[in-house]
Amino acid sequence: MRRVAESRDREAFARLYDLYAPLLFGLSVRIVGHADAEDALQEAMIQIWERAADFDGAKGSVRAWLVVITRSRCLDRLRQKEAAGRRQTPLPDGEDFIDGSAASGEALEHREAEAAVLEALASLPQEQRQALEAGYFGGLSQSEIAKDLGQPLGTIKTRMRLGMIKLMEQLKPLLEP
């Protein structure tokens, strides 16, 4: 990341793309759907290239920064489409995941992180997970989630708070220092 920011190193940027694209593309597909995911990720990657100098390793990891930018661009797109009606994108199965035969160290780490996060999410009470996912992948505010689920705002706030605390606890081994 430093080489991208300081030297505008295209090769380093290409490696950054190779390393994180499966994570960021999965996120994009989940938020905006397959049809818009490519454009959303391309837009995010261009922004990452242009804003690389803004990255501050003291504030967070590269992964977290890339996810924030990609998620923001995806949610922008989602809002633009809201006039046509909000939609939840179903998660298609059988997509071309990181192939096991291409078991590079990075691919393996991705796989392990994915399994750990899915397990952590699955361990949450259903209502906590539902609220967190609506906020994270759907870009909904707590008021919007409360309205969608027909629950008091305070209930949603509590569910998200408890869910997030539990998630942080479970993901602690994966958190970058």
């Binding site: 295209r10 499966p22 593309f25 391309q42 504030k59 298609p92 990181i98």
Partner: protein, 261 residues
């Protein structure tokens, strides 16, 4: 860091690095998905030093994106040549001529990752990829062989026909403007045109992906589908044809590639 509405304060939590990192990890909850290989090329072609931004354009803004898109075709060739990795793809047979990177190529010529390969309407070219896969291009095919971030082989077929033979377990797929067909150990053909993509699984299993829920199709003897822009695959119906992928054509291709039937 920007956090849209997913903010610790809204959950009565203290802002913390742990929250930010856990938020970043939550992206894994969407599942890992390998983007199409051509997206990497597009991204690499689109990025420019800040000093080259058009006047009045903000980074990532609409004007910049349009300018980048206009330059993409030319720049892609440069980017691909920079980031190409050595691969074992080469021409195993040529009939009627073939162009690689716009230059005539004969049997034995290497097909670098990212290079454009073209055959004339009445020509054909067989490309061997290592010992596990290969394809035959025909009917004026224009295609680019790429490698995805996950090390899978992707043939981006812009037009024409591509008959493929793939050993089981080889990560290989063909993408067209309308979707992609991923091999799960199979013989299959993809025919691409501006109007539609035709895909036939001759033997084995194939996963069709695109702007629609994935579809896994299996057949012992030819099952074909049509994908039209923005639509899910449907049975080929009147477009159904064995032209270009009869058993003897598949047998001949496997023979040329040295793959067992």
């Amino acid at each position: 860091m920007e956090h849209e509405k997913f903010d610790p304060r809204s959950m009565d939590l203290e802002p913390s690095r742990a929250f930010d990192e856990a938020s970043g990890l939550m992206a894994y909850g969407a599942g890992l998905r390998v983007p199409p290989a051509h997206l990497r090329s597009k991204v690499m072609a689109a990025i420019r030093p800040a000093s080259e931004l058009p006047l009045g354009a903000s980074p990532g803004g609409a004007l910049w994106r349009k300018a980048a898109a206009a330059a993409a075709i030319l720049a892609a060739a440069v980017a691909l040549s920079i980031y190409a990795r050595p691969e074992g793809a080469s021409l195993a047979a040529v009939e009627g001529g073939a162009l690689i990177g716009g230059k005539p190529a004969g049997v034995g010529a290497a097909l670098p990752m990212g290079a454009v390969i073209e055959v004339p309407p009445d020509g054909r070219a067989v490309v061997r990829i290592g010992r596990r896969a290969g394809f035959e291009l025909s009917r004026g095919a224009r295609a680019i062989l790429e490698r995805t971030a996950a090390n899978a082989i992707e043939l981006r077929l812009d037009s024409g026909w591509a008959l493929s033979a793939v050993k089981t377990g080889t990560p290989y797929r063909i993408s067209t403007p309308h979707g992609a067909a991923r091999a799960v150990g199979t013989d299959f053909i993809v025919k691409a045109s501006a109007e539609r993509t035709y895909a036939c699984i001759c033997r084995g299993r194939l996963v069709l992906t695109g702007p629609f829920p994935d579809q896994t199709v299996a057949a012992d003897h030819h099952a074909d589908f049509i994908i039209e822009p923005g639509q899910a695959p449907k049975p080929a119906g009147r477009w159904s044809s064995l032209d270009g992928h009869r058993d003897e054509a598949i047998g001949a291709l496997r023979g040329r590639l040295g793959l067992r039937p």
